[in-house]
């Protein structure tokens, strides 16, 4: 069957409209889950009361000060943290998978999580601050941020001296990861039990620690870097054709790879420094979005962000009501997401990656 030009164009555009519709659906889902998660936590406040308190505060209406205090100062920043975490880590995942043409790549591929964890343990266990004059309350965050960027810096530095293939970049990242993990392990075994518990809770990742003081930095970093990365969407599409062909299309593949990799690492660092290393979403968020919107980065980036936000909001809601005082979201996201992802892989008829 031969289609005429208008039919093909029509199909192409309607396909793209469907991608936008899916993205909007994920955004609406995320908004709904944002409100839902306000109703769950250690203290029992009904969902309706919680949502009402949220809007009353926004509109400046009278609210029971105890409810207001709890909803506005604890649950709202935590929900914003969940939204940022899911969106940011998913975008970083899209970029990493694209840069390395590897479906297993994720925000932590470059050793970011091990770096962040080493920085955090240095602060938690040894009370060492890598940046002088940081107030003690921000020490762990600052340490984690700085250390999370070291592996990427090493890779970027290596690439100055010799030509690194995408695969050797990943391998370098893995080597640094093992090195950093082993140092963290040494610190952990020699640590007193209470600081070890703190370090462990940092390791699994939790949104407990996200309060208003963390929101401006997390939000600003995530929004700015996400927008900048989205401006690379078209060039990231070009990267699909392989390094040699990328050159003949007028772009330098290594420059795009290094720049977007560093941006994605900064994006990840700006989140995990506050939350600890929340895994899984950066790997799975992009893959789930891919199933709905395909791999054109102009649609994949926003859809992954929206899906990731919705997913972490959901996982954190489950995390808050699990156990006696809640469980870390890092654990729940993998526990809920693992089976979900397996189900999707089995159900999926066409091969979305390659």
């Amino acid at each position: 069957m031969i289609l005429d030009s208008a039919a093909v164009k029509g199909q192409y555009k309607s396909g793209n409209r469907k991608r936008v519709v899916w993205t909007v659906a994920f955004v609406l889902l995320a908004i709904a889950l944002f409100l839902v998660t306000l109703g769950f936590g250690v203290f029992k406040i009904s969902l309706v009361d919680a949502v009402k308190a949220f809007f009353d505060h926004l509109l400046g209406n009278e609210v029971d000060p105890r409810v207001d205090e709890y909803i506005w100062n604890t649950r709202v920043p935590r929900a914003i943290g969940a939204l940022i975490t899911g969106a940011g880590l998913s975008i970083a995942g899209v970029v990493m998978q694209n840069d390395f043409k590897n479906p297993l790549a994720e925000p932590y591929t470059m050793g970011i999580s091990s770096g962040a964890f080493l920085g955090a343990t240095l602060g938690i266990i040894l009370n060492i601050s890598v940046i002088p004059f940081v107030p003690s309350g921000s020490m762990v965050v600052a340490n984690a941020y700085v250390f999370s960027l070291i592996p990427v810096a090493i890779i970027a530095l290596f690439s100055k001296f010799r030509k690194l293939t995408p695969m050797s970049m990943i391998l370098t990242g893995i080597a640094v990861m093992f090195l950093f993990s082993s140092i963290s392990q040494i610190l952990m075994v020699t640590a007193p039990s209470e600081s070890m518990a703190d370090a462990y809770s940092w390791r699994v990742g939790s949104l407990d620690r996200v309060r208003w003081d963390a929101v401006p930095m997390m939000l600003a970093s995530t929004v700015v870097l996400s927008v900048v990365l989205y401006m690379f969407a078209r060039r990231l599409n070009v990267m699909y054709v392989g390094d040699r062909s990328v050159k003949t299309l007028g772009e330098n593949p290594m420059t795009i790879r290094l720049v977007t990799m560093v941006l994605a690492s900064l994006l990840t660092a700006g989140i995990v420094s506050y939350t600890g290393t929340i895994g899984f979403i950066g790997l799975v968020g992009p893959h789930v979005a891919r199933i709905f919107v395909g791999s054109n980065n102009r649609y994949l980036i926003p859809a992954s962000a929206a899906f990731g936000a919705a997913f972490i909001l959901f996982a954190d809601t489950v995390a808050k009501v699990s156990g006696i005082n809640g469980l870390p979201v890092g654990v729940i996201s993998a526990m809920v997401g693992g089976p979900l992802f397996m189900w999707i892989l089995i159900r999926q008829r066409k091969n979305v990656w390659a």
């Binding site: 030009s5 192409y12 040699r244 050159k247 003949t248 299309l249 007028g250």
Partner: protein, 278 residues
């Protein structure tokens, strides 16, 4: 449009691949590069489009050295269709071909770009695949999609690395014939690497026969494709007949392998080097 290659040499670390390659080509032609495995055909192409930089010598386009032309500018002048072994990525055919428009990217050209993509797919007889996922297609269909990508780039020079290797005979003839027609209609220079001597002989305006890293013979198919040349370059005996004015090769036998060939750069060594340069 004049492409001029002057004394180009190229080595992968210490293994020399090309030495003293020189020739001039100008527009509206289909040129085939022939030669045995590992002789440096792909390396030569890569030196032209800056995937590799020659160790010495220059490549000039209209008198301008390509090493001084920015990648972005060069992409508007030279298109490239790689040898597609297992290139696979998760985009639709239409989005894949649209990537070829990248060097000309501007806002608000979606409709005209889509028209061009459609017309190109139509010309190659694969418009029905437009909405399919690229990685669901066969190797031959991949090759046509990649060719479409090269064509929508609207280059003055189009370099093709074995563009018909995965196609069946009918499509080999069809695509090669179309390439010749395109060189005329669009006034572009098309240079393709080929392993099918007869198809190259039938449709090419010029043939470049490579031997041991340099140009052994260049000229019309009739001048270049002779029993003697094939014997030297490929190590085969052959009988040449006439097919409507073009030489037609009937292969007879392979000469016994001699020790000298061990000294040639093997495909394995160039594969290794390509990992470092990509």
């Amino acid at each position: 449009m004049e492409l001029s290659i002057n004394d180009v040499c190229f080595s992968y670390s210490s293994v020399p691949v090309l030495h003293d390659v020189s020739f001039k080509l100008s527009g509206n032609e289909l040129v085939s590069i022939l030669g045995p495995n590992g002789v440096g055909k792909s390396t030569l192409i890569h030196c032209i489009n800056k995937i590799l930089s020659p160790t010495s010598g220059t490549v000039l386009i209209d008198g301008k050295d390509v090493s001084e032309i920015k990648l972005k500018e060069l992409a508007k002048q030279i298109g490239y269709v790689p040898y597609s072994a297992n290139d696979s990525f998760p985009l639709s055919v239409i989005d894949t071909v649209m990537i070829g428009r990248h060097p000309h990217a501007k806002w608000g050209t979606l409709d005209s770009d889509l028209d061009m993509v459609y017309d190109t797919l139509r010309m190659l007889g694969i418009s029905h695949l437009a909405m399919r996922a690229f990685n669901e297609l066969s190797a031959g269909q991949h090759q046509k999609v990649m060719l479409a990508r090269g064509l929508v780039q609207e280059p003055d020079i189009l370099l093709l690395d074995e563009p018909t290797s995965n196609l069946d005979v009918r499509h080999q003839l069809d695509v090669t014939k179309m390439l010749r027609r395109l060189s005329r209609e669009k006034g572009i220079l098309i240079v393709m690497i080929s392993h099918d001597i007869n198809i190259a002989a039938k449709y090419s305006d010029k043939v470049i026969l490579m031997h041991e890293g340099s140009v052994y013979s260049i000229g019309t198919p009739r001048e270049v494709i002779t029993a003697e040349n094939l014997r030297t370059v490929y190590g085969v005996t052959a009988e040449i007949t006439d097919d409507d004015g073009a030489p037609h090769v009937i292969l007879k036998d392979a000469l016994p392998m001699d020790e000298e060939e061990e000294g040639l750069p093997s495909p394995a060594s160039s594969g290794h080097a390509s990992a470092q340069t990509s």
